[in-house]
């Protein structure tokens, strides 16, 4: 998938993945790759600016686990869930409209 196209939707995708289960950065990038059948194969370090930005915007929260291997675990906040719901609705209506045009046009 073209980097620029993906970049525009990365916030929504990362929120959706973290919304499914509280995760650390490594798990987020793994899940993105799995769920997209390998289409979203980003340099792994690029997920962290997204996670930090979403946290700064109050859409995610995070904490270090105190297990043997310390991991920074991200969780979607209530504001993040609302934002994700809005993004899903916008995306559904946008993708329906694009598909409709592409189907109808010769």
């Amino acid at each position: 998938v073209e980097g620029q196209v993906l970049k525009g939707h990365l916030d929504m995708l990362v929120l959706a993945v973290v919304g499914g289960a509280a995760s650390h950065g490594y798990a987020v990038i793994e899940r993105l790759r799995e769920l997209s059948d390998g289409a979203f194969d980003l340099p792994e370090g690029t997920v962290y600016p997204v996670l930090h930005r979403l946290e700064e915007r109050g859409l995610l929260s995070s904490r270090w686990t105190d297990a043997r291997r310390a991991r920074r675990i991200y969780t979607v906040t209530p504001a993040g869930r609302r934002f994700l719901g809005e993004q899903r609705a916008t995306w559904s209506s946008f993708s329906r409209a694009v598909s409709s045009v592409l189907r109808a046009a010769p």
Partner: protein, 269 residues
């Protein structure tokens, strides 16, 4: 942790610092997360059958090049636009003045509750809370989270005000003429600005773009603004101690500090 991963992390940290990405504390967290990620990826690759050294090299390659990653951090920031800078110019003096006004209202109560020794530090927290809230509102979310910013600002005002007030009173500066008062307020303002800016740049994601300039300009702005008011107020020495004088002082110190720090903020955006 392997030497290859530590070398990569050192390069990554240097690249973030060179491009002035994130605060010192922010960079520490990013590197800690990267270290954990690389170790986990290298272990996964080793489980797939790669020799340890190869697994680490592959993990590093998959993580991304330090310069590319640093550019990604810069691109992830919301821009600080002209509207935010204008709001900064307005809300910094208003926030500081609101903090002083609140302290004027609460002053007697605070004195009765905590005793005279703690009045200045506590007053600093209240005044700094107003300043921090005003500043955060102007650039919401673009520097750091609200509580972190407001706490750093309040702590800075409290620390700077307390240290400088004790020093100035110890020197007997305040009891002199208006020039002495001007000098005393310049010291108090500059020390407060210095402490505020030093703590703010520790928690802000983007001020490393001009950390020294930030501290210097905040100190100069607060010191100059406070001194100007003390010297120019008509009336007997001590006029600035009246409620109106203190509010004017806060307004002037906030306005000059905002004017001097706005260019650093604009560059950080």
């Amino acid at each position: 942790m392997s030497r290859a991963i530590e070398t990569f992390l050192r390069e990554y940290r240097q690249e973030l610092a060179r491009r002035r990405v994130l605060s010192f504390l922010g960079r520490r967290r990013v590197i800690a997360e990267a270290r954990q990620h690389l170790a986990e990826r290298a272990e996964a690759l080793a489980r797939e059958g790669h020799p340890a050294a190869v697994a680490e090299r592959l993990a590093i390659r998959r993580f991304g090049a330090p310069d590319q990653l640093a550019r990604g951090w810069l691109a992830a920031e919301d821009p600080i636009g002209a509207d935010a800078v204008s709001a900064w110019l307005l809300l910094t003096p208003l926030g500081l003045t609101a903090g002083v006004a609140l302290m004027l209202v609460l002053g007697d109560l605070v004195g009765a509750l905590v005793g005279m020794m703690l009045v200045v530090p506590l007053a600093g927290l209240v005044v700094g809370g107003g300043l921090g809230a005003g500043q955060w509102l102007s650039v919401r979310g673009k520097l750091t989270r609200p509580l972190r910013w407001i706490a750093a600002t309040a702590g800075g005002v409290s620390l700077g005000l307390t240290a400088a007030s004790w020093a100035v009173e110890g020197l007997g500066f305040v009891k002199g003429n208006r020039l002495h008062e001007g000098a005393a307020l310049a010291i108090i303002g500059a020390a407060t600005g210095l402490a505020v800016a030093a703590l703010q740049q520790l928690v802000a994601r983007r001020l490393p773009a001009g950390a020294l300039a930030w501290v210097g300009r905040m100190a100069l702005g607060m010191g100059a603004g406070a001194a100007l008011v003390a010297v120019s107020l008509s009336g007997a020495p001590g006029s600035f101690r009246t409620p109106a004088g203190l509010l004017l002082l806060a307004l002037a110190a906030g306005a000059t500090a905002a004017a001097l720090t706005a260019p650093v903020l604009r560059r950080a955006g």
